[in-house]
Amino acid sequence: MSSDLLLSVRNAGKQFMQGQRPRWACRGVSFDLYPGEVLAVVGESGSGKSTLLRLLASRLACDEGSVFYDLREEAGNGVAASRGASGLVDLAGLSEARLRWLARTDWGFVEQHARDGLRMNVSGGANIGERMMALGARHYGKLRGEALSWMERVELDVDRIDDLPGTYSGGMQQRLQIARNLVTHPRLVFMDEPTTGLDVSVQARLLDLLRELVDQLHLAAVIVTHDLAVARLLAHRMLVMKDGCVVEQGLTDRVLDDPQHPYTQLLVSSVLTP
């Protein structure tokens, strides 16, 4: 069964200089992710979870360890350069251009602040169309049709297709960002606090949407969140980080209902349940 691994992380670590001293932002992280699996990374600010996400998505290079990804079914079907027997390739060995291609087709990255993930100077529809154009789509009617269908899918008013994202509400921008990422049918989506900063009712709607899309599209996802309720609702598995290290990982409901590590126990018992 290990042959259908999508992402494999081995002993990954990243060091930053703090003052004159090097400090490990995260270190010794290992896990495997399978197609369709949703993993939540939880921990307080500064625990290294966002750094880890950037390592996984090759936005930062590992100082230690490796991130392997299965290139076999890569969208657009580029020629696999350094394919291993299992199809897993060390991302550190891929060219910049190749990584950019992966990021634009087979991966998605949903930023906490939608503005960071959207192009604010082009219309909502053009934001959705951009990744399809990267895959070679040029037919205006088709691009527009696809953009409309994705707007419907993420519950955006299709009459707003020609409006700039800046005129959208925060919740709408986040849904637009999701549509923009999913239009190329990526196999893996990274999400950095996708619901933080939204009103509670908007959050619920977005979570429900994400849950459905992940299910329907059989997406694998790594979701960084400090909200345990988000993890419970969306994730199959959890990874708990503290001071750059993974202190506990396992099935989501097991980690939340029967936490083993002192830090996880503290985290779970600190949540107010209305």
Partner: protein, 232 residues
Amino acid sequence: MTSVLETSELSKTFTLHARGGLALPVFSGISLSVSPGECLALTGHSGSGKSSLLRCLYGNYAASSGEVRIRHQDQWLSLSAAAPREVLDVRRRTLGYVSQFLRVIPRVSTLDIVAEPLRRLGVAADEARAQAAQWLARLNLHERLWHLPPATFSGGEQQRVNIAHGLIANHPVLLLDEPTASLDADNRRVVVELIHAARARGAAVVGIFHDDEVREAVASRCLDVEHYRKSN
């Protein structure tokens, strides 16, 4: 009949790190086995660890020592040692669970909640909803509630949603945590009939039944969890 669910020397102790590593022993040394068509009732006073045992059998609580094994896709699998995605696959295909409390998902209708286990098995949406409707009707949940999220339902209504959700996929092994606790006599009777039907189709059932009458009606044998109580 060969068993489909077993434990050997299963123990559970909670360690409270915020209390200086205080150990709260729950039970130890439980070895049980359940065969198709059987219903094993867990008995003992409240606080004796019945629900904790049931949660260990579901993989929701980690076993402190010992093992939980289940027949899954014609093979034995150690549930207590399985990877998360294996546990989830067991829950999808083999192991159903009716908890005491319904975990409500915002915005999702009752009908879709009940249909979800079938959807996860690949049943088409319309068919899954049609079956969900049958289960809800069988459990006397008024049709006007089907399209609402169950957040505002009464305890008894939520419990019936929970039962329909837990039974709809006809899993070979069922765990029932007080399925009749907040039901009136009529609905208790329906649930007893449903458990009989599950046993008749060959399901192995482990349950906690607070109500003596219900327990006597559905259980084929009992296990007193008090006997496995760990002393401090």
